[in-house]
Symmetry: D2
Subunit: 357 residues, 4 copies
C-alpha cells in the first residue's frame, strides 16, 4: 500500500492551516496507506516543538477513538526528510523560514508547496514587501523565477510541472477569482478603479495570542485595518495585471472564526446585460471544480466555510455599468490548506478536487 | 416635580429601538419626575399588546429590584394622549402607521419624533420608496414639506423649531456624517463615484423572527443584501445633494447584535495632505458633542456600541487623492433611539447631549 | 454501480439534521453510485415543499460547482418509495409524523431510522411524553415493542437486526454515554442523586424562526430551560435503569450554532482511584470507534463539533467519591444525523464508523 | 464643586474592571466635580504605563467628542496620593500587589476597596489559596482581621465602617447571593451536597492575551475548567458557613464577552411549596436594591449584562425537595466594578445604588 513516490510532509503543522492540512491529507483517498510526515515549526518563542508530541495533543479535534493509533508530530529535522523519502513538502511556516529552506529542499529533490508569502511575487516585489534578506540572492532569484503562483484556476498547467508552488494569500484568492474573468474579457474600466472591501474571520490573524485576537477585542466587533498597504495587494496587481492606481483593497476583521467575503466594486467599459456577465463567469470557470457560481443570489460566508469552494455572485446597477461581485471562501481551505491540496493534486496528476469535496 | 410641558410618550416600545428609548427616557435627568407614557404597537400579528403589561415583561433587562415600582406599557389609545397631556411623542412604529398618525397627532398639538422612514424624503420620493398611500394627500404633502430630517449635526436649528422630526435611518446616519464635511468643502470628485460598504448588526433587521434573523443563519456569517436598492439610499442623495450615479451603497448583515461600520471610498478633487482632511472634519464637527474624531486611528464598532457617538476616522492613499473614511455607530442609539433623544433635547431647548453620555 | 439493496431515502431533508444526513449519505463510500432519495417534509405551515427543488436551493452549502449535476428534493410521495425500491428510510420529521408513518413503512418492507422521539420510550411513556394519539394503538404497541433504541455503544447487535431504530435524543446521547460505564459497574451511589447540567447550541432548537432562536435573544446569552421536565429525561431513565428521584437534568441554550457539553455530577458508592475510573471507561468503550476518551483533560465542545465522536473526560474530588464527567458531542452528528448513519452502517453490516471519520 | 473628602483613585485602570470603574466613577452623580485620579498598573510585563496616557488611548470607548477634555492615566506614584488628597482607592491590581500595598495605604489614612482576592478569606486560607508571602505577617494578619468581605447584601453595616473592603469574586457573588437566603433559613440539606455549575464570559479571564482567551479557542466553544479547585471556592465556604464536603463548584468558559450564569442544585431539608421559596428570597432581599427576583421565570445572562443587578430565579421539583436556583450577573459590574462602587456608596454613606441604575 505504501507508495513512496507520493510521500508528503508538512512543516508547521501546529498552526490553523497546519491542522487543516493534516486533516485533509490524512483523509485523502490517494494517500491512504501513505500518511504524511508531520513536523512542528522549528525553534521559536511560541511554536517550538522540542520533542515528539501527538497530533491530538496539538489539535484535539483530530484525536482518534480509544484504541486507535496516534499520529505523531516530530521536531523538524533535515535527515528525516531523506529517511522518509519525502517527495513533496508543504511549508506552513513563517515566510523567512520558507525563503531560507526552499533552496535546500530543492537541492534534495523535494518539491515544495509554500503557504507563506515568500515566493508569491516577482523577485523585487517579494523582497520589498516581505523584507527578505536572502543568503544567496542569485539562487533565490532563480527559484523566484520558476516558482508558480498556485492558483489552479489560472495556472493549472504550470502548477502541474512546478518545483515550487507559491500558495496564494487568502484575500488575494477571493479577489482574483472574482475579477479574473472580467479582466480577461477586457470588461473592466480600469481608469475608474476597482474597490475591494474584504472581511475575514479571525483565523486569518494566526494562532499567536495578541491583543487583536483576544476574544474581548474580536467578538461583537468589526474593524478595518492596513488600508492602502496590506501585503496581499501585490498579488492582486501581478496576477491581474493592474497597477496600484487601479485598485484599492481594504481588509476588515470579522467576529467569526473563519471565512472571507469580498465585496468588489467596479465599472464596466461598456454597459452589459446580466446574462453577459453570467456567461463570462460560467465560461471562464467551466472546467474549475472548486468555483461555485451563485449568479444573482449573492453568496454568504457560511455556505463556503468548511468547503474548498470559492463562491461567486454579482449584482448589476440599473445603469448596467456599475457592477458588484461578491466572493466567499474559507480562508483556511480555499484560502490556504485546501488550495495547497488542490495544488498537490495537480503536481501528482490527480483530479484537482480529489479529497476536497 | 411634575413638569407637564415636557410630558413625553413612546408608541411602539416593544421593539429594540423602543427598549432603548424607554431606557434613555427613564434615566434622562430633565425628565426625572416626569416619566414617559409607554404604548405598545397597535394591533398587528406580532406586536399587539392587548392589555397593560409591565415594561419588565417586555424587556426583562429594564426590570427593577424587589420592591421597586413597575413601569407599565398600555395599549395605544388616543384618549390617553390628552389625559396625560402628552406634548411630544416618539413613534417607533411601522412607517405606514407613522404616516397615518402624524396628521392627527399634529391636530392634537403634539410634536412628533418619528423613527420610521415615513417622512424622511421629499414627498414624491417618500411615497415611492415607502409605497405610501395617504388618506389625504394634500395634508400629507403639507406635513412632508415642514418635516425636518433629524440629523442634529446638519439641521440643529430647524429641528429645534420642528413639529415633525423625521429621525434618520441608521445606515444613512453613518454615511452622511462621514461625507458631509467633505461634500460641504467641495472636496469630493463626484464623477469618480463614492462607494459605501456598510455592515450592520442584526438588531437592524427588527424583532420579528425570520429566516434571516435566525441565529443559525446570522451567526458565523456575513452576507451582502439589497445591492443598488436599499431604502436608505434616498436619504444619502437628498441630504448630500447627490444623485444615483454618484454613489453606491451596499449593506451587509454582521453576526453581532448591534453596531454599524461603514467603509466609504472616494476620490478627492484635488490632492490633499492628511492634515487638511483632519481640519475639515474637526472644523465641521467642532460644536457637535456626539461625533468623535479618531483621525488616522480607524474606529472599530465596539467602541461606539452602547454610546450615542458617531466615530469617524480616515486613511489617505499615497497618491493623496483616494480617501477612505470609516464611520461607526450603534444602530439602536445614534442610529435610532439615541438620535431621537438628541432631537428631543433640541426640541425642548436642552443641551444636545443631555442624558446621552 | 447501482446497488438497490442499499437504496436509502431521507424524509425531512429541509431541516438542520436533514442537511447533515444529506451531506453524510452523499459522501458515504458504500453508497457511491447509489445516492439517496430526498424528500421534503410533508405539508406544514413552514416546511412544505410543494414541488421539486434542488438540494442547493435548500442548503446552499451543499451546492456543486459550475457544470455539476443537481441533486433534487421531491415532495414526499408513497409511490416514489416503491418506484425507487427504497430499503431504508431516515425520518427527520416531527414525531407525530413518524408515529403515523412507521406502520405503513413497515408494511412496505422498508426499514426505518427515526430521528424523532416517537419510538424511543416504552409504549406508555412514549405516548405520554410525546402526547401521541395512535390510529391503531395495538399495531403501534407492537412496533414500539420491537423498536430498538439506536445507541450503538449500548445496543449494537439489536440495532443490526432491527426494523425500526429509534435514534436517540442529542442530550440523552451525551448523558447516557457519560454514565453507562459507571452504572454498568454499579459504581454510582444512586441515593445521592446524579445531576446533569447540559448546554446545547441553537441548532438543537430547530429551524423554525422563533423568539428563542432570534439572533438577538440567543447571541451573547445563556439561559436554562425546561427544568425538571425536558422530554429527553425519559430516555435517561429507561436506558440507565434509573427513576426520576435519581437524576436531575437541566438543559441550557448556548450562543453557538452546534455542540452539546454535559457536566455530570455524581457520587461513587466506594472511593476510587482515578485509574480505576479511567479503566472503567476504556474497557467499556474499547470496541466503540465513535467515543474518544480525554481522561483528565476535560473535552471542550469545539473539539467534537463537526465530528461524530462523543468525547468524555472526568475529574475526581480529593475525597475520591465525588466525580464529574464531562461529555461533548455535536448535536447534529453524534446527537442526530451522524448517529443515524452509524445505525445505518450496523443495519447494513458495514463497519460502524464508515463514512463518519 | 471640588469635594476633597470624597477624592477617589483607581489603580489598575487599564484592565476590563478598571475600564468599568472609570466609566462608573466619571458618571457618578455624587462625584461630579471631583473626578477620580487614574493610575495604571505598576511596572509589569504587560501592564506597565510608563508615562501619562489618555484614558481614551487605553479604552477608546471612553473617548469624548471633538473639543472635550481628555482624562489622563498616570503611572502609579505614592506621592500623587497625598498631593491629590486621595481618601479612597480602588485596587484593580494583581493580588500580590494589593497585599503589598494595603498596609502602606492604611498608614496614609486611605481607605481601600480591593478588587483582587488578596484579603477575601481568613488569614490562613488567604495565604494558602493565593500563595501570599507577606513582608510583615503580623501587620498583614491584623489587616486581614478587620478587612470586610464586600458583599453589601450580607455585610452592609460592616462595610460602611470598613477601612479595607475585600470586593468579592464574580463567581462567588453569583453563588452566595443565590444560596444565602436558603442557608440563613436552614432550609438546605447540607448532607446531600450543593452543586454549583457556573458559566462565565471571557472577560473574567483577564486582558492578557493567552491561548485560552484567543478568539479561535473561546468562540463557538464551551469548556469546564478548574474542577474541585477554583480559588473562589473558599469564599463560598466562609461566607455560607459550609465545608468542602458540602459543595461542588465547577466554572465553565462561555463564548460571550461578559456575564455569569450559575445553576445551583440543592435539596431542601423539608419539602416546601414554591411560595415558601419565593417568600424566603423576597424577605431576605427586601432592602437590597441590586437584587432582582425573577421567581419561576428563570433569568438569562443577557438581562443582567451591563447592569449591576444580580438576577435570581428558581425551579422546584415535583417532589418539592430538589431545588434549582439560577443566578445571573455581569462579572465586570456586580461581579467587580459595580459592586466596588456599591461598596464605595456604603463607605461614603450614600444610597447603595447611587450611580448604578
Amino acid at each position: 500500500m505504501m507508495n513512496p513516490i507520493h510521500q508528503t510532509a508538512v512543516a508547521g503543522v501546529s498552526g490553523y492551516a497546519g491542522a487543516e492540512l493534516a486533516r485533509l491529507l490524512l483523509h485523502h483517498p490517494r494517500l491512504a496507506g501513505c500518511p504524511p510526515v508531520f513536523f512542528g515549526r522549528p525553534a521559536g518563542p511560541h511554536e517550538e516543538i522540542g520533542s515528539r508530541v501527538s497530533l491530538a495533543e496539538l489539535h484535539p479535534q483530530l484525536a482518534g477513538s480509544i484504541g486507535s493509533t496516534s499520529k505523531w508530530v516530530e521536531p523538524f529535522q533535515w535527515d528525516a526528510l531523506r529517511e522518509k523519502n519525502v517527495r513533496l513538502i508543504f511549508l506552513a511556516t513563517p515566510h523567512e523560514q520558507s525563503r531560507a529552506w526552499v533552496p535546500r529542499l530543492l537541492d534534495l529533490g523535494i518539491r515544495v508547496i509554500d503557504l507563506s508569502g515568500a515566493w508569491r511575487l516577482k523577485q523585487s516585489a517579494n523582497r520589498e514587501v516581505y523584507r527578505l534578506d536572502d543568503a544567496d540572492p542569485s539562487a533565490a532569484a532563480s527559484i523566484q523565477n520558476q516558482a508558480v503562483y498556485g492558483l489552479p484556476e489560472l495556472h493549472r498547467e504550470r502548477i502541474a510541472a512546478a518545483q515550487v508552488v507559491a500558495n496564494p494569500g487568502c484575500y488575494a484568492t477571493s479577489i482574483i477569482l472574482a475579477l479574473a474573468p472580467l479582466v480577461a474579457d477586457h470588461r473592466v474600466d480600469l481608469d475608474r478603479g476597482i474597490t475591494c472591501d474584504s472581511k475575514s474571520g479571525v483565523s486569518g490573524a494566526g494562532k499567536t495570542p495578541t491583543a487583536k485576537t483576544h476574544f474581548m477585542h474580536a467578538a461583537d466587533n468589526l474593524s478595518a485595518y492596513s488600508p492602502f498597504n496590506h501585503r496581499h495587494t501585490g498579488e492582486l496587481l501581478e496576477q491581474l495585471g493592474l497597477d496600484n492606481s487601479n485598485i484599492i483593497f481594504t481588509p476588515h476583521l470579522l467576529p467569526i472564526p473563519r471565512g472571507i467575503l469580498s465585496t468588489i466594486y467596479l465599472t464596466l467599459r461598456e454597459p452589459a446585460e446580466p446574462r453577459a456577465i453570467e456567461d463570462c463567469f460560467r465560461r471562464f470557470y467551466s472546467s474549475s471544480p472548486m468555483v461555485r457560481w451563485f449568479g444573482a443570489n449573492l453568496p454568504a460566508i457560511q455556505y463556503s466555510v468548511r468547503t474548498n469552494y470559492c463562491d461567486l455572485g454579482f449584482a448589476l446597477a440599473p445603469d448596467r455599468r456599475r457592477l458588484i461581485v461578491v466572493s466567499c471562501l474559507d480562508n483556511l481551505l480555499k484560502g490556504a490548506a485546501g488550495q495547497a491540496v488542490q495544488n498537490m493534486n495537480l503536481l501528482f496528476g490527480w483530479p484537482e478536487q480529489e479529497g476536497l469535496t
